[in-house]
Symmetry: C2
Subunit: 354 residues, 2 copies
Amino acid sequence: MQRVKLADVARAAGVHPGTASRALNPATRDQVSRATSKRVARAAERLGYVPNTFARGLRTARSYLVGMVVPDVTNPLFPPMVRGAEQVLSRAGYTLVLTDTDNDAGTERRQVEQLRARGTDGFIIATARWEDRLLDEVAEARVPTVLVNRNTSGGRLPYVGGDERAGIKLAVDHLVGLGHRRIAYLAGPQDTSTGRERAAAFRQAVAGHTLPTWRTQVRPCAAYTEAAGAAAAVRLLASAAEFTAVLAGNDLIALGALDAFSRAGIHCPDRVSVVGFNDLPMVDRLTPPLSTVRLPLHEMGTLAARILLDEIDAAGPTDGGGSAMQPAQPQRVAQSLLGVELAVRGTTAAPARS
Amino acid sequence: MQRVKLADVARAAGVHPGTASRALNPATRDQVSRATSKRVARAAERLGYVPNTFARGLRTARSYLVGMVVPDVTNPLFPPMVRGAEQVLSRAGYTLVLTDTDNDAGTERRQVEQLRARGTDGFIIATARWEDRLLDEVAEARVPTVLVNRNTSGGRLPYVGGDERAGIKLAVDHLVGLGHRRIAYLAGPQDTSTGRERAAAFRQAVAGHTLPTWRTQVRPCAAYTEAAGAAAAVRLLASAAEFTAVLAGNDLIALGALDAFSRAGIHCPDRVSVVGFNDLPMVDRLTPPLSTVRLPLHEMGTLAARILLDEIDAAGPTDGGGSAMQPAQPQRVAQSLLGVELAVRGTTAAPARS
DNA sequence: TTGAAAGCGCTAACAA
DNA sequence: TTGTTAGCGCTTTCAA
């Protein structure tokens, strides 16, 4: 891959390759006299020496590669996290490999295995399902891993996310403050932690305000998509249940619901208020602009990366076999919930007087 | 990184490691009897053998790594290209490393050099500037590289993009068809090929229709952003030039212009028509929905990846030094322009009768 | 068709 | 503090 190798640098500096190696490596630099160290560094610079990653990796069993797994890069939720993670990792000398699973468990498994074969030092995973075989295996194998955005039921892997419960509470409080009492919830898929957490938080917030409840108040959508949101809203309308506001599991569901309402001639926010979740780009430019909960996506990425780096340092060189040296690891690990905000915009207003 | 190595497989199959290697490698499999080959394959399967990428890379000087460089992952223009490229590459056994340069030349250089040190087999680059030192060097070094979306002035590297000229012509024809004659152009930055090509195409289309021209008809924006678009639109308004339609260098510029017009009390599409470029997600949901030119982003990614794979195959094992074996390479290489479409929506209408 | 052996470039354990 | 040496796991030339 490149011409000049460590031996060339060593020769140019008049030392042996071993010494040159120590001089160039920050961790071992202090085993070498300042003078030689300087001489070697200068020679390396002059010759344009670039270490061979393969040789180093073969020797050290460290790749300085981190894999990040997202369900779909074209979903604007993920790029800010990716960016945050990349900034932290590249500053620490790591290279981020991004893979897109296309929301498919088989693809995901293949990607993760391919990356493991590359000796990837750790993973940041944004695709967790609530029950997730692959992640159980990864946890079992002690591969340094951090979950971001979505958690698993086990809680055995470190997790970084937004404070879903606080977000939902903010939204419900806002609607109640406007005078709403009958609020329906269009939940996200229940095989994701976000779908479950938000639904649970909704029930809790409703109970906290002693708002009316009814059997079909919480309707899970099959997916976080506009189509699923529209379908759920249509069913909600057909149920003839009364409601003056709808809280949606995410913005896409909210958008679908808004479409359905508009097609049914139900105007927002005059006849119905709608709140989303995620604050996707552009939803502030719609008519009316969407009220929604904002997550600190970039910060989720940076924090996940930082936690992963700690984990990697703690674990030492990769040895996929799982070093049996450590005693049983703690059952629960760091679960970081970052603060969220409510963006109050045009889709929420006081309920119509009936 | 993993436990079972080639020697283990060889032992299990009762052959020499060399033979096992030949049996497992599709390219050398025919040097081995079908029986042994089968035996080795079965042993590998049974033991869960995964080749060590470092050892192989060290030996073969091939990383099966491809770097993709984008200015900003959070810009929705790029994820579809990334996805397209990843699909093609991972199917071919390559791993895609995505890096985000944050629109900064220094960051870009660092990232590319880091990836080169990793023995990256090739690059897909979406950040090209019209005059680009780094890319000149990359071309010089004969590192397999494909440009996507943005081209350089030299045309020395293969390029895949949308047919900008056709897109602009489509837009101008549409406006003229509605009855517009005085059309202003808010150009993108002139240090990108897209900014230059589209501006040139605009001038050509205007000339083709023998439309009126004036000195300040084409106004370059400093960046592809809403802010720059708004600023340019404000200046356009201040110039007191007459116009009934505005064509924008991209959607973000169009959105900024729409804001500026709306703040100035100039209603779209009644008083001014606006056409964007790129068809970003959600622009079809704005009020009014944006008329714009759609690029085949996903296909641009897949085609770029395919061309890159051909290049890599042609180049043979990486040796960044540039093999002097080949005679002078052709000055011009494949420049692929993919078809574009015009999405006619709500921001364009017949001009007001004055 | 298979085995033997060398070596890719680096780091780390040991010796001086 | 520096030199010496061995070896990470694989592919590939050469010999049988």
